[in-house]
């Protein structure tokens, strides 16, 4: 339960990060689409951090909403960013967040738990 709470805290952190980025963009946007992507990111991250074999499924899906979400943040950034840089940046965020979820799922396994109180 405590480990799950840990993943939830990280998910809240990623959500706050994404919402802040979304709020700084210019132009008109579809809030429902962004909201959906954000929800998928948070759920995918929490479920992907669970130390179970099936958590690979949410981790496999996680990169897509993350990539789309950060692509819209970076393409509408002020001052403007070239598209290739925004694309690479969004791909990086997708990789980073998925990789972190994978790390937490391993770290949360009893046999790999660090020898420190968490």
């Amino acid at each position: 339960m405590r480990k799950l709470l840990y993943a939830v805290i990280f998910a809240i952190g990623f959500a706050a990060f994404s919402v802040g980025g979304l709020s700084e963009r210019g132009g008109e946007h579809d809030p429902w689409l962004e909201g959906g992507a954000l929800l998928a990111l948070c759920l995918g991250f929490v479920l992907g951090s669970v130390p179970r074999a099936w958590s690979i499924v949410p981790r496999a899906i996680l990169p897509l909403p993350t990539f789309l979400l950060f692509l819209t943040i970076l393409t509408d950034r002020k001052p403007e960013l070239p598209f290739f840089a925004a694309f690479v940046g969004a791909a990086f965020y997708a990789l980073f967040i998925t990789s972190y979820a994978s790390f937490l799922s391993h770290r949360n396994r009893p046999d790999e738990a660090p020898d420190v109180p968490v």
Binding site: G13, G20, S23
Partner: protein, 615 residues
């Protein structure tokens, strides 16, 4: 011709401060007077405080120069001020800077493979001994890290350099252990005082974190150093109120009550930051990446975060000032908090050098701002003052992470000169400190010691226990006899009362202990010419090593229920060196404890009239 004295070490040697060459010699009367003079220590602290303040100015200006050169920031500005920076600079400078940091750190590690001992560790375990070379190396790496935009604070380097400098001079002057520990605190105090233009903050940083206590004995030297550091920095770069406020604040009772949950929230944020940094460090360590490659990768990650949140770059001083005077939108504040935590954790986790002092202040100010925004939505009637809530958040998160509550309260007082705001900050800081102690139990520094397996809970000196070895206190007046020696021969050699303890040896190896009174016992079986030492001895059940500390000997006495233990040179060779009784071990331990306590509080023979030799 007498050679010219060139270094302080040479001067100390020429003055024969520690006695002349040729073995242990009693210190000269002049040097003893100097060591016993509080005034001399105060003056020395003041002089060294100037040096520490100068070090802070050099480090700070170096980072400013790098920011100006690499990012085009106007002189005196901060990376986190919110300047519009080119996207390629945000990516390239931290990653290429990381490459430089990784390379320089790799070279330094090859030349000096040991870990750098920081001021807290030095005072807790090593009697204040620090390496100046390691401290300078750390300062260089921190300047490079901060200069290329890594999300780290410079305060760790300031204190390391200041404390290392003072420790080095104190060691060369052969100061006593407690005076050297005080000087380490003086260096840190001067550094923090110079960094924030706040002498009381610097002094209490030293008391709370570096020395571990406040006493009349260390009051004057530490304050003198802090003042010297402050005035040095003021003289060189001018008066610089870190977080100057432009108006007075007004608080109601409701505000004070709200500061309690704000403090609790700050504690939760602080604990999340400390855990987050640890988790990220573990993550980085798991990757099969050479240590010198990690900083450029981390720099790239920080740069990509900065594409969305450029204020995460650098220590965060500019961001704090901006947040005090302007109000960011709530979503942006929340995002910036998450981004700053991530950037700081990654920067430290990949091997950029620096600390979390200013990052925690920045995070706290953002947290306070976010609380105001949230209150404006859910409870607009109370009309919260953004300035004071930002200060409360700053102090409370700073206290939670740095672990120095009074320092944070004084920092707000000295940096804003607003007493009403300081009282409000006190409430938040107390709530945060109590919560972190209750639910986490560590500051960021002690948490990292804990993860490294060090038994340090603070700067309180526990290293003296290790230095109090059995070899220093054992008795050497026992005699050894071969096992075949008869009682008659022993009676001749050791008349009644002539020797306190006898030991039986076989081919030079210790095999047993003999109580000398047993030689004269009327119950002695057989005639004295026929009874040998082997018949009288009690085989040894346990022995002590001269290099063990006294604390471990007390454990051994207790485990084996013995009143006397022989001291040998090694567990296999068993060559007798001396012996120790439980009563003497307890007496030496309590005397040393008392001496240490007296030195700490600056009062000789406060607790008893026991006279202990001066070391």
């Amino acid at each position: 011709m007498v050679p010219r004295a060139r270094t302080i070490g040479d001067i100390a040697n020429r003055l024969h401060l520690g006695g002349r060459r040729g073995g242990p010699v009693a210190p000269s009367a002049g040097w003893t007077r100097f060591r016993n003079s509080e005034l001399a220590l105060i003056l020395l602290a003041g002089v060294l405080g100037v040096g520490a303040g100068l070090g802070v100015v050099i480090l700070r200006q170096s980072v400013t120069a790098l920011h100006s050169l690499l990012f085009g920031i106007p002189w005196g500005g901060h990376l986190s001020d919110g300047f519009t920076l080119d996207w390629w600079a945000l990516i390239l400078v931290p990653s290429l800077g990381g490459l430089v940091v990784g390379g320089v750190a790799w070279i330094m590690k090859r030349r000096r493979p040991r870990d750098t001992i920081d001021a807290i560790e030095a005072n807790a375990l090593y009697g204040g001994r620090m390496s100046l070379t390691d401290s300078i190396n750390l300062g260089i790496l921190t300047v490079l890290s901060g200069g290329c935009g890594a999300s780290v604070g410079l305060e760790a380097a300031y204190t390391q350099l200041g404390a290392g400098f003072c420790s080095n001079i104190g060691h060369r002057l052969k100061l006593r252990r407690d005076d050297l520990r005080t000087l380490v605190g003086c260096g840190a105090a001067a550094a923090i005082a110079a960094a924030f233009d706040a002498p009381l903050t610097g002094a209490f940083y030293a008391y709370e974190l570096i020395i571990g206590n406040y006493s009349i004995a260390n009051l004057a030297p530490v304050l003198m150093a802090a003042l010297a550091g402050t005035f040095t920095a003021r003289g060189l770069i001018g008066e610089d109120l870190a977080f100057a406020t432009s108006r007075a604040v007004h608080l109601t009772t409701t505000d004070y009550l709200i500061f309690v949950p704000v403090g609790l929230g700050a504690a939760a944020l602080g604990m999340a930051v400390m855990q987050g940094v640890t988790a990220t460090e573990q993550w980085m360590r798991r990757q099969a990446i050479p240590s010198w490659v990690r900083p450029p990768i981390g720099g790239l990650v920080v740069g990509i975060i900065a594409l969305i949140y450029p204020r995460v770059l650098g220590s965060g001083h500019g961001g704090i000032v901006a947040n005090l005077h302007f109000t960011f939108a709530l979503p942006y504040l929340g995002g910036l908090i998450a981004a700053k935590i991530a950037a700081s954790a990654i920067s430290i986790g990949v091997g950029f050098r620096g600390g979390l002092f200013s990052s925690s202040l920045f995070l706290g100010s953002l947290f306070g701002g976010a609380v105001v925004m949230a209150l404006n939505i859910v409870w607009p009637e109370i009309d919260p003052d953004p300035l004071v809530y930002t200060l409360v958040g700053m102090g409370a998160v700073g206290a939670a992470i740095v672990g120095a509550p009074i320092t944070m309260i004084l920092l707000v007082l000295e940096a804003t000169r607003d007493f009403a705001a300081t009282v409000g900050v006190t409430v938040g800081v107390i709530a945060a400190t109590v919560a972190v102690r209750r639910w986490f139990g560590y500051s960021f520094a002690t948490w990292r010691f804990h993860l490294r397996g060090l038994k340090i809970q603070g700067a309180e000196d526990i290293g003296w226990i290790d230095s109090l070895t059995i070899g220093r206190v054992m008795r050497r007046d026992g005699k050894s006899v071969p096992t075949e020696m008869t009682v008659a021969s022993m009676r001749k050699a050791f008349p009644l009362g002539g020797v306190p303890q006898l030991f039986a040896t076989e081919e030079g190896r210790l095999v047993g202990t003999i109580d000398p009174t047993d030689l004269w016992s009327p119950d002695l079986g057989g005639i004295p010419e026929e009874v040998s030492a082997a018949d009288l001895m009690v085989p040894i059940a346990a022995s002590l090593l001269a290099t063990d500390n006294l604390q471990s000997s007390l454990r051994k006495f207790s485990e084996h229920k013995l009143e006397l233990l022989p001291v040998v040179d090694g567990p296999d060779s068993l060559q007798l060196l001396g012996y120790l009784t439980e009563a003497e071990a307890l007496k030496s331990y309590s005397q040393e404890l008392e001496r240490h306590r007296n030195d700490t509080i600056g009062e000789a023979r406060l607790l008893s009239t026991t006279i202990t030799p001066e070391r």
